[in-house]
């Protein structure tokens, strides 16, 4: 009974993916020498042969890695401070994190565009990396904070007694200790950044397009659905690899502190 229910849930989740995979190997527009509806690798060959599409894969990987690196670098000290100390305004900081996490991107899209135009960041992957910190920093701080709070305070104090400075303590003791937490935080930052499209669209109108926008560009009068699906399949690969790495830790440590 239990197994049967789980199989039904898995079928519900996997069926649309199966459809997508099938279409990605199907010819969906007439091409010379190939019948519509026949199985073929032509969609994947078309992607490999299109520099705009391959560049978009690289752009996506660049912006998402830059975002994860920046988010983790600023979130780790903040999470440590929120876990270990009380300070004036700490509750306001937590409320602000919540507010920015749930702020709808479409509300901020226009002023973000104007601001980034002024500082000359438009049409680069780094603009997306920076603006996605809006929702990723709160997530990363929540996750890292709960992992740090699970470590007894003696652990820090012993290191400080041994003469470690705060930065050295972070790198030598804290980071190895909460490595699973950093992995989980990186995973969630990656996911939320990878799938976002509102900011990505407005910031890369003429260049630096990520995969999501390259796919949008494929829609037209006669859309090649097979090509779109093949691109979508490719867009899933990095994220699925990442799930494999953190699968055992995903289900640990994600709580909202206010």
């Amino acid at each position: 009974m239990r197994a049967l229910t789980l199989v039904a849930v898995a079928a519900f989740i996997l069926a649309p993916f199966a459809q997508m995979l099938m279409l990605s190997f199907t010819v969906t527009l007439p091409h010379p020498g190939e019948m519509v509806g026949s199985l073929s690798l032509r969609n994947y060959r078309a992607i490999a042969g299109d520099p705009a599409l391959t560049a978009s894969l690289a752009n996506s990987l660049i912006y998402v890695s830059a975002n994860v690196a920046l988010t983790l670098a600023v979130s780790l000290p903040a999470a440590y401070a929120l876990s270990r100390y009380r300070f004036v305004g700490d509750r306001h900081v937590l409320l602000m994190l919540l507010a920015f996490r749930i702020m709808p991107p479409v509300v901020l899209s226009l002023p973000v565009f104007l601001l980034f135009a002024q500082v000359g960041l438009l049409n680069t992957p780094f603009a997306i990396a920076l603006v996605h910190c809006l929702f990723n920093i709160p997530i990363a701080i929540w996750i890292l904070e709960s992992f740090i709070s699970a470590i007894p305070r003696d652990f820090d104090e012993n290191a400080f007694l041994d003469g470690y400075s705060l930065p050295r303590f972070f790198l030598r003791h804290l980071v190895p200790m909460i490595a699973p937490g950093i992995g989980v935080a990186a995973f969630f930052c990656f996911v939320f950044s990878w799938v976002e499209v509102v900011f990505a669209r407005i910031l890369t109108s003429t260049g630096g397009k990520p995969i999501t926008m390259a796919i949008d560009g494929l829609f037209g009068f006669r859309t090649d659905v097979g090509l779109v699906m093949a691109m979508t399949v490719l867009s899933l690969v990095p994220a699925l690899l990442l799930i494999g790495f953190v699968r055992r830790h995903i289900a640990k440590g994600f709580r909202l502190r206010v």
């Binding site: 239990r2 789980l6 898995a10 989740i13 996997l14 069926a15 649309p16 993916f17 199966a18 459809q19 279409l23 670098a73 600023v74 979130s75 000290p77 401070a81 100390y85 009380r86 300070f87 004036v88 305004g89 700490d90 409320l95 602000m96 919540l98 920015f100 702020m103 709808p104 479409v106 509300v107 901020l108 226009l110 002023p111 973000v112 601001l115 920076l130 910190c133 920093i137 929540w142 990878w194 799938v195 499209v197 509102v198 796919i215 949008d216 779109v228 699906m229 979508t232 867009s235 899933l236 699925l240 799930i243 699968r247 995903i250 289900a251 640990k252 994600f254 709580r255 909202l256 206010v258």
Partner: protein, 286 residues
């Protein structure tokens, strides 16, 4: 209780600096724009609260708010029982547990603008697996012109997309319950329902609130996915709050769009504050 130390601010500062740049400055500009009639950004006129007055008198705004509230309520009532139920059924052993978590997490990593496309392909009457199955069973499914079917499709898609998040978070809450609690419940002769009600549910409250905040906010402001299904149709039946805003921005109506944005921000902040109060209340009680 952690010790007070205001030097901790230095550690928070880098994160706050980034948030001020990408969040607070744009937010202040939106509030500023909402009081102007903007032809170009250099050519604008002060109109005071005119846009706000127009908006609050606009029946379309209230209709969209009603639709969004109904959508969010349905999302919560479908996805939470389902997600918690799945989490309770998930195997606790390492191998099968992580296989299930991986499957549940898959829809979370699909780019949002591709989700409607995948589902439209899935329910296509001629080529889609679900579409052909429904046709074979004699079910006429017309998401384009039948409002009920549009809603059903968007709800099914949203459940597919997000039920994994609720399930994974609940699973993480369940894994954190020490085995001693279950043993104590077994000695007291508690049944399955009682174990859930008195042992599991209280310890799930934290993660469920987290999931609730994320789901309520994201479904209230659903945009990309819903627009991709039917562009707000048929006849406005799936025009949710953020769809109106998206159209105004696309039509370069910056003044009214900014006023609308500010109203949404106020709505979001009120809900965030309410969640905070509830969470603090729950923590003080436990």
């Amino acid at each position: 209780m952690p010790p007070p130390d205001n030097r901790a601010w230095i550690l928070v500062l880098p994160a706050l600096a980034v948030l001020v740049f990408v969040g607070l400055i744009p937010l202040i500009s939106v509030i500023n724009y909402s009081f102007f009639d903007i032809f170009t950004l250099k050519d604008r006129f002060w109109v005071g609260t005119e846009w706000y007055a127009d908006l609050l008198r606009d029946p379309a705004l209230w209709a969209a708010l009603g639709r969004s509230a109904l959508f969010t309520a349905l999302v919560v009532f479908i996805q939470f029982p389902l997600g918690v139920g799945i989490a309770l059924l998930l195997p606790r052993n390492a191998l099968w547990g992580s296989v299930c978590v991986m499957v549940l997490a898959m829809p979370l990593v699909v780019p949002w603008n591709m989700i409607p496309g995948i589902w439209l392909g899935f329910v296509d009457v001629e080529t889609g697996l679900a579409g052909r199955a429904m046709a074979a069973l004699g079910i006429g499914f017309d998401y384009k012109f039948n409002a009920w079917h549009s809603w059903a499709l968007i709800l099914a898609m949203d459940t597919w997309h997000w039920v994994g998040l609720v399930a994974i978070l609940s699973y993480s809450g369940l894994s954190a319950i020490p085995g001693a609690y279950y043993q104590a419940a077994a000695i007291d002769g508690a049944g399955r329902v009682q174990i859930f009600r008195h042992v599991e549910l209280p310890r799930l409250t934290g993660v469920l609130m987290m999931a609730l905040v994320l789901r309520v906010m994201d479904s209230l402001m659903i945009y990309t996915e819903a627009f991709g299904i039917n562009a707000g149709g048929p006849d406005g039946a799936t025009t949710f709050l953020a769809l109106d805003l998206g159209e105004e921005i696309a039509a370069f109506n910056y003044g009214p769009a900014a006023a609308r944005s500010v109203l949404y921000v106020l709505l979001v902040l009120t809900l965030a504050w309410a969640f905070t109060l509830v969470l603090r209340g729950l923590r003080e009680r436990s």
